[in-house]
């Protein structure tokens, strides 16, 4: 069953058509990799899926329901979006891992945070580290953990390994593959990374706002 479905979705800014009557389906347990040239509309697909913007025309469904009719806040907790070159919030690394609990108004689960930190090879001692002191690779990993503190149904990844070295990339992808397989989370990943594309399960190319077959 499709968890996210685009039906004739267009998106334009002023006169500029960025997506043009796009049809797209993300199935329950899909790992979909979106490729294409810069400016072709890949990231727009993700921001639409994340409901950071709304389609100019057409319809986007989540589990068979039009997203325009859903509460955006609840929806975004199910369809979690990790941006390219994320910024960290607050003062310390832990502030970031607490944020998803704060969002939901529930008690912060420190054990869960520590478990996730270990999975991306970040030491527990890093919890108290100031966000301005963490490296690019660490920042990307911490940002991803924010999306995974509470498991979403769909995880949207926007070129999250851009600028990371091979070692950091491997750490990040291992976690993503693991949650995809173990937790049955659907993944939609926009990437330029050759290695990721080669290993992808299902690839679509977006060219000039359309899916090129």
């Amino acid at each position: 069953m499709a968890v996210i479905e685009f039906k004739q979705v267009s998106y334009q800014v002023g006169d500029k058509k960025i997506l043009n009557q796009l049809d797209l389906e993300v199935a329950d347990n899909d790992y979909l990799t979106i490729v294409g040239l810069s400016g072709g509309g890949k990231s727009t697909i993700l921001t639409l899926m994340a409901q950071m913007i709304s389609a100019t025309s057409g319809e986007i469904d989540f589990q068979g329901q039009n997203v325009m009719e859903l509460d955006p806040v609840k929806y975004r907790r199910e369809v979690s979006y990790c941006v390219q070159r994320p910024a960290l919030f607050g003062e310390t690394v832990e502030d970031n891992l607490k944020f998803p609990a704060e969002v939901r108004g529930v008690e912060y689960n420190r054990d869960r945070a520590l478990e996730l930190m270990a999975r991306v090879q970040l030491p527990a001692s890093m919890m108290d580290q100031k966000v301005i002191e963490v490296s690019g690779g660490e920042r990307q990993r911490i940002a991803l953990l924010r999306n995974l503190m509470y498991l979403p149904k769909v995880l949207l990844l926007d070129e999250i390994t851009t600028g990371l070295d091979a070692e950091n990339k491997a750490i990040v992808w291992n976690l993503i593959r693991a949650v995809h397989q173990e937790e049955q989370i659907a993944i939609v990943s926009v990437t330029h990374d050759q290695q990721e594309i080669e290993n992808a399960e299902k690839v679509i190319a977006v060219v000039d706002g359309r899916i090129s077959r």
Partner: protein
């Protein structure tokens, strides 16, 4: 009262304007026109206000007094609006913020017996409250606009993690309220050391014992702290929502 400026003295003091015009001319600042307009407006506006206040004080009618205060608040709100380009309903938000701070603060002063229920006291104090709230709100708007631009990415990330817009904007709102309040807090710290404030200077020039004049000034400083706090909080909490659409997306 030992203070009278005769028309002759006032005319001679006009020479000071020529200093400003001369500097603008010499330094090619291109401000001559603005200075002249400023001077003419000062004379006309204050003359009208002077006679108007004299009349309002004389008839001592509460409807006219309230109307006068309302006009002050509307003007202040309109001015504050200009500091928040792009913020929808900025006039209405400013009006609510200034009205509330004026009613609360001037009301408290009346209730505590610090001010008498007479136009000669209520109108000038309302003006002071309104103008300080106006400046504070202007700073809030400027900070909101700048922060929502500079921290756009962070706000998007917070929304993406499922935050309500209130939580996603919390740090920006706090920072903006601080921006609105900090000049008043700074001036509360330096008052008397750096400058003798207008209220106190005015009373001293008019012959009031400085020890009595400071009591008024202390009251004014407390009043302004409350004023900017109330105005900034209301304006920021009403305005931050305008940066989002109904789907909780950043505009």
């Amino acid at each position: 009262m030992n203070l009278v400026v005769s028309n002759v003295s006032l005319t001679l003091v006009t020479g000071l304007v020529l200093v400003a015009v001369f500097i603008s001319y010499r330094e090619k600042l291109g401000l001559n026109k603005d200075i002249i307009i400023g001077v003419i407006r000062t004379v006309i506006q204050l003359t009208v206000v002077g006679y108007l206040l004299k009349y309002v004080f004389k008839i001592n009618n509460w409807v006219v007094t309230l109307l006068m205060i309302l006009i002050i608040i509307i003007n202040a709100a309109d001015n504050a609006r200009k500091r928040g380009p792009g913020i929808e309903n900025a006039f209405f938000i400013s009006f609510i913020a200034i009205l509330t701070s004026t009613v609360v603060v001037v009301g408290t002063l009346i209730a505590t017996g610090s001010l008498k229920m007479i136009p000669a006291q209520i109108i000038p104090f309302s003006g002071m409250v309104a103008s300080n709230t106006m400046v504070a709100i202007g700073l809030c708007y400027r900070n909101l606009n700048a922060s929502f631009r500079d921290q756009r990415q962070q706000v998007i990330e917070k929304l993406a993690l499922g935050a309500e817009i209130k939580l996603a904007s919390r740090s920006i709102v706090a920072e903006s309220v601080r921006a609105g309040m900090s000049p008043t807090i700074d001036s509360a710290k330096t008052v008397g050391l750096v400058s003798l404030p207008g209220m106190m200077s005015g009373l001293i020039i008019a012959g009031v014992d400085p020890v009595k004049a400071i009591k008024y000034q202390i009251m004014v400083m407390f009043m302004l702290l409350a004023t900017t706090a109330i105005g900034s909080v209301i304006a920021c909490y009403l305005a931050y929502r305008k940066f989002y659409n109904s789907k909780m997306q950043l505009k």
